[in-house]
Amino acid sequence: MPGISKAFSPILDRIRPGLLLAAFLLVLPALVACGDDDSGDGGTLTVFAAASLTSSFNELGEAFEDANEGVTVEFNFAGSQALATQLAEGASADVFASANLTQMGRVVEADLVDGEPVIFAQNRLAILVPAGNPANVQSILDLGDPDLKLVLAAEDVPVGRYAREVLAIAEQSAEFQNRNPEFTDFNVVSNETNVLQVVTRVRLGEADAGIVYETDVTPDVVGEVTLIPIPPEFNVIADYPIAALSDGDTDLALSFIEFVRSSEGRQILADWGFLPVEPE
């Protein structure tokens, strides 16, 4: 046994647990600190936005960064119900843009919103089918076919709720009942947790049809899917509220919301197929 280790081992033996504990305590704050880095001089704006806003808000974010030197915009896109839960469970963000009033309402009820939410855009629903339209869907009346694999978003996802409203309206109509005399229920094969997943199921051809927003045929999926409009008598309007969050950077949040509602912001939203709502 080497002499040095012999001489030191009793001391080392004694202090080793302490050393280890000290090392652990030193590392722990470093790990925790990893979470909050504040980059950019103008600050970072964190926006929680509905999955259906992904493309339009990415462009809005870039335009906002261009207009505000040093500001960085970070997005968290997911189903509005997931975002509302994250916020209620303590996630920190500056802005929340929801695809319906229900999920915004949960955040308002949790007392996390600064001021009042405003509706900044509207959307309509549409049927999405894979390229080639294997099930030959021509209109919403064809969705009653018991062999047609229909994919929706789950009921607590805004687009899932809107889709069920649309299907309920359709089901009541005389045209639908004439077309599907034996109808019992829609053949829903999966309930996805946000609208982009519905698009993916259709895009991969796993579903014969899905119900999504009119804005969901982005350049990414053009050619792989076809949008079939739902006529106004069956359609519903999706309202998108936006709000600044009380524990965030309220000034920056309000200026982002103002930008979204500005003519430039409304133009970007319109380019992506939304119906922008003019501020009163």
Partner: protein
Amino acid sequence: MIDQPSPATGADSGRGYPSGGWRRLQRPGALLWASTIVLLGFILVPLLAIFLRGFEDGQLVRPLGDPVVQEALTLSLITTAVSLVVSVLFGTPTAYLLARHRFRGRSVILTLIDLPMVLPPAVAGIALLIAFGRRGVLGPTLSDLFGIELPFTMAAVVMAQTFVAMPLYVRSARAGFETIDDEHLQIAATMGLSRFTIFRVITLPLTLPALLSGAVLTWARALGEFGATIMFAGNFIGRTQTMPLAIYQSLEGGDLSTAIALSGILIVVSFTVLVIFQVLTRSASSMVR
């Protein structure tokens, strides 16, 4: 070296005795206990939190009557049972082949069978979808020849679970088969016993603990399967929404109490199975001795 005994041991332990160092080594040091306590706390605190929150306002009990919970529990029990049966049926002969025979390409097969174990479940999900999906590599053939469409079915859930969980069983079974002494088998063979009799009378009893522990690990892994399932089988109550998927969807939708109830059930079920498993392996190994 023994002049300064560590604080964990008594002041005169080992002093002057040649066997003192050994005796001291036989007692656990403070570091061992400290690490164990930290680890235990890390595991227990979150698990207990589920029950604390759950019992706070009866959240744990109320959703038990919820059809979502019942459907998910039933579906999970059925699919994991089938996955386990499939894993054992195909895994046992494979493990035996790999343990008892040497042939070219064996190590390649070993690695390939272990692969799903280290693969992220999301990759497994995409792989299954690309292979067996409607527009996948094999999907159209399956559909044309047999009229089978796998995605969004209970079969897809079983496939996802088996894909990620089976390697655990094969691994454990193989390790068990490797420990069997050639002599036992030689004697049995000279007695003129058939392959299956030898397996049933000698191999199986000797390797039962290994097979059981492999089965339990596989079942637990299948029960927890999430990523591959949601990607390949989708999410539909009563058909493909297993417990983990139901937890995910209820948490996302803000239905914390259902998520907590489902988690509580899974913890209790898993714990019970582990206890049964330990009792079983203990009696199995005492049988062997």
